[in-house]
């Protein structure tokens, strides 16, 4: 989201943190960028990680003479994002995951894409590119000196346990994903995932495009998160270009984003019913899902809300009459199904105490969205980093504390009700006559870089964009919420679960492979 709320005064703790980065680090904007010499990176990471409420939101690199390593931190209590930039001259940099474990997946990805690695020499997994990716494979930087350690870091299967391979081709239309299940027969001992089967090199393909042309591909990177990802990307481009979307366009985006949340939570409800064998409940949730998709088509012209977001505004104006007439019935369908499910003991028994994720694990891994909120973390960018109209229409953040599948389901249902309330309030703000959907003036500049974010149905979606002097992309980093939350999936699966719990846990996470395997 483009943060257009009035600047928030720096808290004393934030001032102390920023003072350590030199006199240029202060700032009242929502995003603070600081340069950190590689020699001081380890100390800086320790200092930021110890800051109250700080979480590592993303780590990525950009090619150049020396590679630039960027760490994005969410300082949620301060309503800020902090970006550290470090130039990496050699082939290695201080290990980040030794201090912030949430960085390990990105350390692996950066090794595959840019050939630089953490200095501690620990084995790195293959997470991004398929095993056949040789030196000539399209990469964002140069190829690594050697391949990652097999397809997974070496591990030992002891006792009577054995590995049960599952996927990547799975039932019906489920995305390609390989599970390595380590089991002693029924109980799950360990689980690891191969997510690279769907790698499409989206970030590589975006280079050289204008942000507007790139938006088309960004929307299709993760079809079930088109609005959230497109908003994050558009906000990043707008920050780079110095564009400010008009309020009416922001209201239209927010309506689309809440509609996207509604249909995704309905789809997750149907998937939960399917995974627990409750076929009639699944049908009831799918009726609601279909009605919500038709609401999307009636309001914005596309069932999956493609083509709504534009750079600097929106392309589609919501049909508010259709919204008012169709949404109550569609949501009522979901609510009736959900109420019936919440009074079905055989269903709730399968959800309760299944796939437990502790708050400490969610915090340590930097998880986001309903998965994090179900553990007790009240993190929601609509509340923590609000853009208009969210700042004007306060949000009741849905939180649970048991961290199991039932907690995630409860959070989704509460959020769905909150989305309907928000749509009603924001719909009034979007109805002003004669308001523009795009800014009157074009971009004030062509070159620059910027960070953008939006609270998608899966949690914080983030993007970072750098543009050259002709306004074309030199580096676009896409970080859908799925990138963060898959790293919590294996933790949840290992919490004393059996084989048949895995589909239930996967449905409750409601992630996509496309979102992480860009």
């Amino acid at each position: 989201m483009t943060a257009i709320q009035p600047s928030v005064a720096s808290r004393p703790g934030l001032n102390d943190l920023l003072t350590g980065f030199g006199p240029d680090a202060a700032g009242d904007g929502p995003v603070i960028t600081v340069r950190v010499p590689v020699a001081g990176l380890e100390a800086a990471v320790r200092r930021i990680a110890a800051h109250p409420g700080a979480r590592l939101a993303d780590v990525f690199a950009s090619a150049g003479g020396p590679v630039t390593l960027r760490l994005v931190w969410g300082l949620d209590a301060d309503r800020r994002y902090l970006i550290t930039e470090s130039l990496i001259d050699g082939d290695s940099y201080p290990s980040l995951s030794a201090i912030a474990p949430a960085a390990f997946a990105e350390e692996c990805e950066i090794y595959e894409q840019f050939g630089i690695r953490p200095a501690d020499g620990r084995p790195l997994n293959r997470v991004a590119l398929p095993p056949g990716a040789g030196p000539d494979w399209p990469r964002l930087g140069r190829a690594p000196a050697g391949p990652p350690a097999g397809v997974h870091a070496p591990h030992h299967v002891g006792g009577h346990a054995f590995e049960f391979p599952f996927g990547p081709v799975r039932q019906v239309a489920v995305e390609s994903l390989y599970y390595g299940l380590v089991t002693s027969g029924e109980e799950l001992v360990d689980l690891y995932l191969f997510t690279w089967h769907k790698h499409r090199g989206v970030e590589w393909r975006l280079r050289g495009l204008t942000p507007r042309d790139a938006l088309f591909q960004v929307e299709r990177t993760e079809g079930l998160g088109a609005v959230g990802n497109a908003w994050a990307f558009a906000a990043a481009a707008e920050a780079a270009l110095g564009l400010q979307p008009p309020p009416r366009a922001m209201a239209a985006r927010a309506i689309a984003l809440e509609l996207e949340r509604l249909y995704n939570h309905a789809a997750a409800t149907a998937a939960l019913c399917q995974s627990t064998g409750l076929v009639i409940g699944q049908a009831a949730a799918e009726i609601a899902l279909e009605r919500l998709l038709r609401v999307n088509a009636a309001v914005f012209g596309h069932r999956y809300l493609f083509g709504v977001v534009d750079i600097g505004g929106t392309r589609a104006e919501p049909d508010l009459a259709a919204l008012r007439s169709d949404l109550p019935g569609a949501y009522g369908e979901l609510k009736r199904a959900a109420d019936a499910l919440m009074s079905t003991n055989s269903f709730l028994d399968r959800l309760e105490a299944t796939g437990i994720l502790a708050e400490e694990a969610a915090r340590r891994l930097g998880l986001v969205g309903p998965v994090a909120r179900a553990t007790g973390l009240a993190a929601d960018t609509r509340a923590d980093h609000p853009a208009w109209p969210y700042g004007e229409f306060p949000l009741a953040v849905a939180v649970a504390d048991t961290g199991d599948v039932l907690a995630r389901f409860r959070v989704m249902l509460t959020e769905a009700a909150e989305s309907v309330r928000l749509i009603g309030e924001i719909g009034g703000a979007a109805a002003g006559p004669g308001l523009a959907l795009s800014p009157a003036a074009g971009p004030g500049r062509l070159a620059g870089s910027g960070l953008g974010w939006a609270e998608s149905s899966r949690g914080e979606s983030m993007a970072w964009v750098a543009l050259d002097g002709s306004g074309r992309i030199t580096r676009a980093r896409l970080r859908p919420a799925a990138v963060r939350n898959w790293r919590g999936f294996d933790d949840a699966c290992r919490s004393q679960n059996v084989f048949t719990d895995i589909p239930i846990i996967e449905a409750s996470f409601w992630l996509t492979v496309a979102g992480t395997s860009r």
Partner: protein, 110 residues
């Protein structure tokens, strides 16, 4: 569980009679483009081929080649040339041979 059975029976049939009768929601589906040959020029055909992300469009001399089997109904061609394209409304694309999905549309030289 019996309550769920009763609930299902009470909710009744929600599926439509498609394909015996049209589904009313079909009008909201994105569909492949239809082209107005009189409005197509060589230059325009070239532009359309450039904007098509799935390479469903190509110019072959004075012919625009449209592969409906490669079209994802994204709408980019309609946005590029609304005077020469429209939504076909056709979503039943099954064919008995791949070649039946490829259409050749004449274009004006200029």
């Amino acid at each position: 569980m019996p309550l769920w059975t009763l609930r299902g029976l009470r909710r009744g049939v929600v599926t439509t009679r498609y394909p015996a009768r049209p589904d009313p929601s079909a009008g909201l589906l994105p569909t492949p483009p239809a082209f107005r040959p009189g409005a197509l020029t060589r230059d325009l055909a070239e532009r359309l081929a450039t904007v098509c992300p799935s390479r469903a469009l190509a110019r072959d001399g004075d012919v625009l080649v449209f592969d409906a089997g490669a079209c994802t109904a994204c709408g980019r061609c309609r946005a590029e040339a609304p005077e020469a394209t429209a939504s076909s409304g056709e979503f039943e694309l099954a064919a008995t041979a791949r070649a039946h999905l490829i259409k050749r549309i004449p274009v004006r030289p200029a």
